[in-house]
Amino acid sequence: MYIVVVGAGKVGWNLARELIGKGNEVTVIESDASRFAMVEEELEHAVHYGDGSELWVLERAGVARADMVIAVTGDDEDNILICQVAREKYGVERVIARCNNPRNLQHFELLGIKPAVSATDLILRLIEHEVPRYGFLHLLDLPQERLEIIEIEVAEGSPAAGALVKDLGLPDGSLAIAILRHGTGFVPLADSVIEAGDEVLIVLDTGLETKITERFQPPAEAA
């Protein structure tokens, strides 16, 4: 793939290095002269000097033949515009934008710039993963489609422990799609048995979480 990365800060530089290492053709654009000089020592011709929100700079980097443009500057408005121009003027099919201030995510959404990646949001989400509030992990969120995939552990003494998948009593709008057990996973059948300690992946309509978690936790009085 040919990938244009705008912004050679910590994120952009490391991203470029990884992408090059994976065999992609990459051009990084950096507007700060001293930063550019530093990155150029390592990446050589793969880094261009210039303001990546200017059209001629993007054109010089070959934006029109790029398979993907990734805007990771420290300015959200720059990232929005770079992605907007890449997609709408140069027909780049895939764009990824970094959102520095999570409060600006709404602007990315309004202008159709997605996916927008916010480090703050990612860390908040990781915190939730590490310290699950409701006993499950969010693996995937598709907010527009109102679908999500969660991973939930089967507690000892819960209704799910020892039950067949078909008897799980999951609400309509949810489905067990995989069971992880002893380091391996499989796609369950209706008569697969769920054991305490299993981790079950469930796809569900947003909002069904509580109805689902109660099947995997011991009854309140036993807890």
Binding site: L55, E77, L81, V85, N104, H107, L111
Partner: protein
Amino acid sequence: MLQEGHQVSVLDEDAEALALLEKNQDQAWEDLGGQFTVGTALEIDALLEAGIERADAFVAATDGDNTNLVIAQIAKRRFNVPTVVVRVLDPARAEWYSQQGLSTVCPTAVAIDMLQDAVRAEVKG
């Protein structure tokens, strides 16, 4: 615009900008009927406080092209402001965004025209 009888609300991230508005004026900006809000353009709360919801016209004229282009699109698409004007210094982007339906004003292009006219007038004269 204020002197023409319009209601004008100014949003600036620098509280001191108010002093500029009041320079060479006898009265304070707010006594003249103007509104002044301190905040940055991408903050929805600041825009709301400045009264964007009831605005008939919105001018994006900060010193950043990118900020102006984003905020103008927000004014247009999110708040449905009927008239939106954007200052874009970069002629290339001013042209492309005006093709996309934004009303852009490019001071650079205007200055180039004026300079050319001045040169031609000198040459002829």
